[in-house]
């Protein structure tokens, strides 16, 4: 993974000092609430329902075991012994005291971490495929490009006060595990005919109140021009994006209002002045950054492989875990393993300090000291030798991290919801528990099913792209939910369709069970829920969701 050099460390240290000074001035009454707000937000600090909430950046989801241990330490030292992994590959703490936040940032800086631009109307943490560098279907490892983008966007002076937040994602594989099409700006990294790395540039995707799929404005941008082209896009957005209405301020609204073609022309008209300028990337820099993402010292396939059949036959839980939580690696002797943070009980993505420490130990023992966070709110050990899989499973099971449910009905994505977030209309966490309880017994039978829950229209729980999406709405001060079907965030991205009127929280598990019943009754050989949903069409699911309507 990327390692800081002296200047990276200097910039993060200076950011800590700057924020310490800003916090001191705020606490001394020399900065008003209004003045401090954007400053603290650009450092990931919200004022939430109970206390401040601090969001820490995990650039494109990569973590060392040392960083994991620091995250556990912070949960213990400054918070209530747990933290929450988010749908943007970040981590957040729900109970830090404002005056101690500078100390948290100082601790983070010692392990090359920070909270820069994890909130606010600026360029947010860059995300990518959680199997980057190891996926069998990878075309180009996107991480060097994501890191060069991270550096360029960090404290960019011109784009610190955009109309609204701006999220950038990279995908370098045949499938799309980064949900790139629902980002403000996304790059598909691929190779041209001559082997040169090219970028397909997509803008204007997003979720929230107005879900949109990003549109391609440049098919084949040579990688050297990544930053200059991005600068032109951001300048167009900064100058012309709406600032009068919070809900119409994202770049997707501008792109839609102008039309993708006009937006692309506007971008090009600036880009022609920037092309080949100083911000044009150099081969030297790409080589330097890419050297941080070379393969670890793998064993040969012969040394790493194992015949797991006898263990599978003897141990059904191990077998289920292998089927659900272990995926193929680019090397035949290795596999990538997901440690599930979707226990029935704790909120999706929550982890205690002990669990985070346990994950660090597992990373050290089995995966070259590195882990990743997926936007599905789970942890990944990307490089596990097949001969170690049984030992890893036993150790993960002992730590409570081996639920064999990845991609299944209980692997729910949910935002923190009304229990923590001051924006939410409804509580996502108790609902996700109720849905887990409803479907857990037959989740193996159901197979792959992505359920995604957001407590409000802001869609942090990605409900628009869930095979089944659930969104909280406020109805006369009560918590109600609407259900969507047909969304997906893979390479065949689609926005789900709302089935009908909102119902009370307690009715949702049974409603979802009826959707699942329809699928099980209608599915053809090999069809997943989403396949059946697309074949049958949403109308059938509307009738299943609201049987009283069907009877009428």
């Amino acid at each position: 993974m990327y390692r800081y050099d002296a200047v990276d460390q200097r910039i993060v240290n200076e950011r800590v000092a700057q924020f310490r000074d800003q916090t001191a001035r705020f606490l001394a009454g020399r900065l008003s609430e209004d003045e401090f707000k954007p400053l603290r937000l650009q450092n990931g600090l919200y004022i939430q329902r109970h206390a401040p909430m601090l969001r820490v950046a995990i650039p494109y989801g990569m973590l060392s075991s040392k960083q994991l241990r620091m995250l556990a330490h912070i949960a213990r030292e400054y918070d209530r012994n747990y933290a929450h992994f988010t749908t943007r590959q970040n981590i957040q703490y729900n109970w830090p005291a404002l005056d101690r936040v500078p100390d948290i940032l100082a601790d983070l800086a010692t392990v090359e971490m920070h909270a820069i631009q994890t909130s606010g109307n600026c360029i947010r943490n860059v995300t990518t495929d959680h199997f980057a560098g190891v996926a069998a279907d990878e075309i180009v490892d996107p991480r060097p490009y994501a890191e060069m983008m991270r550096q360029w966007s960090t404290l960019h002076p011109e784009f610190a006060y955009l109309p609204r937040k701006f999220k950038v994602a990279f995908n370098g594989a045949a499938d799309d595990r980064a949900a790139s099409a629902v980002h403000d700006l996304a790059f598909d990294v691929y190779k041209g005919a001559d082997g040169e790395v090219l970028l397909r540039v997509k803008v204007g995707g997003g979720q929230g109140r107005t879900p949109r799929i990003a549109v391609t404005i440049k098919e084949d941008l040579p990688w050297r021009h990544m930053l200059t082209y991005t600068e032109a896009i951001l300048r167009a957005y900064n100058r012309y994006g709406r600032r009068d209405n919070l809900y119409k301020a994202r770049i997707k609204i501008l792109v839609e209002a102008l039309g993708a073609e006009t937006f692309a022309e506007e971008t090009e008209s600036d880009f022609v002045h920037l092309i080949d300028g100083p911000a044009t990337l150099t081969e030297e820099e790409r080589t330097r950054v890419a050297a941080c993402f070379i393969d670890p010292p793998y064993l040969s396939d012969a040394e790493a492989k194992a015949d797991l059949a006898p263990l599978r036959a003897a141990n059904r839980r191990f077998d289920a875990w292998l089927r659900r939580n272990v995926v193929a690696h680019k090397r035949a002797g290795y596999a990538s393993v997901t440690l599930s943070l979707k226990r029935t009980g704790p909120a999706p993505g929550d982890a205690t300090d002990a669990e985070i420490d346990a994950a660090a130990d597992l990373a050290d023992r089995f995966s070259f000291g590195e882990a990743r966070v997926s936007h599905h709110q789970n942890l990944i050990l990307a490089d596990v030798a097949r001969k170690d899989l049984f030992d890893l499973w036993q150790a993960a099971d002992a730590a409570g991290l081996a639920q064999p449910n990845i991609g299944l009905a209980t692997d729910i994505i949910a935002c923190p919801g009304g229990d923590f977030c001051s924006l939410a209309n409804a509580k996502s966490i108790p609902l996700s528990l109720a849905i887990q309880n409803e479907l857990e017994a037959r989740q193996e039978e159901i197979g792959e099913l992505a359920i995604k829950i957001s407590g409000c229209i802001n869609a942090c729980g990605h409900h628009h792209v869930g095979h089944i999406g659930v969104i909280g709405v406020d109805k006369h001060g009560e918590e109600w939910f609407q259900v969507l079907v047909g969304g997906r965030s893979d390479a065949n991205v689609a926005i789900g369709e709302i089935l009908g009127k909102a119902v009370k929280s307690e009715e949702i598990p049974a409603l979802i069970a009826r959707l699942v019943d329809l699928y099980l009754a209608e599915r053809r050989e090999g069809e997943r829920f989403i396949d059946t949903a697309e074949r049958l069409g949403v109308e059938r699911f509307k009738l299943a969701a609201y049987p009283e309507k069907a009877a009428a």
């Binding site: 050099d5 002296a6 200047v7 910039i11 002076p157």
Partner: protein, 197 residues
């Protein structure tokens, strides 16, 4: 008058005019002149916001609104508000030695792009002054975008403000302050960072 900070040739800040030390309380958040509607040329789909427009008396402040300046009223230097297009000054910068850019509220970043365009695209080299809601915590960014003069909002601690320009000893990206991107000078940047630590 309010305090005016400037950068010297070595980009060191100094107090160019006004009281060296001001006291006072934070002012109420000003209202955006345009209501934050975005550029009129491109954003024709935007409805005009209801409510009153708050127009500043620019001439009393020593500036001419850009539209009037382009129309030939050049007694005072031009001021650009957030919706003004700096590229309309292309070819008209001949003997201009001062341009002001207004920040109706600091959280509206359009003026930062206007400054960058004046410096980078139009090659403007004389004084570029930030006016309006100009406060300590935005000075570093403004300087990087090409501003070299800063008319501080009332109530700012001048000593604090002077420190803002050295918040960071290095930066990653090029902007409009002459610094090259870090990847073109990584060796010397690392040497300097090691020396500073």
């Amino acid at each position: 008058m309010s305090v005016l900070l400037k950068l010297d040739a070595a980009r060191k800040p100094y107090v160019a005019a006004g009281e060296a030390k001001t006291a006072g309380t934070a002012t109420a958040a000003p209202v955006a002149v345009d209501g934050g509607r975005g550029d009129a040329r491109l954003a024709t789909y935007v409805k005009k916001p209801a409510g009153e427009k708050v127009e500043k008396d620019w001439r009393a402040a020593g500036y001419t609104p850009l539209k009037d300046w382009l129309g030939g009223d050049r007694a005072l230097p031009p001021v650009l508000v957030a919706t003004d297009d700096p590229l309309t000054l292309d070819g008209k910068l001949g003997d201009v030695t001062l341009i002001a850019i207004d920040f109706a509220k600091f959280s509206d970043g359009r003026g930062l792009s206007s400054a960058a365009l004046l410096r980078k695209r139009l090659g403007y080299t004389h004084e570029l002054r930030a006016v309006g809601d100009v406060a300590r915590d935005q000075l570093f960014q403004m300087a990087r975008c090409g501003f070299d003069a800063f008319e501080l909002r009332d109530g700012q601690d001048v000593d604090d403000a002077l420190k803002a320009f050295s918040d960071y000893g290095d930066v990653y990206q090029d902007a409009a302050d002459g610094r090259a991107p870090i990847f073109r000078r990584r060796g010397e940047a690392n040497a300097a960072a090691e020396k500073a630590s």
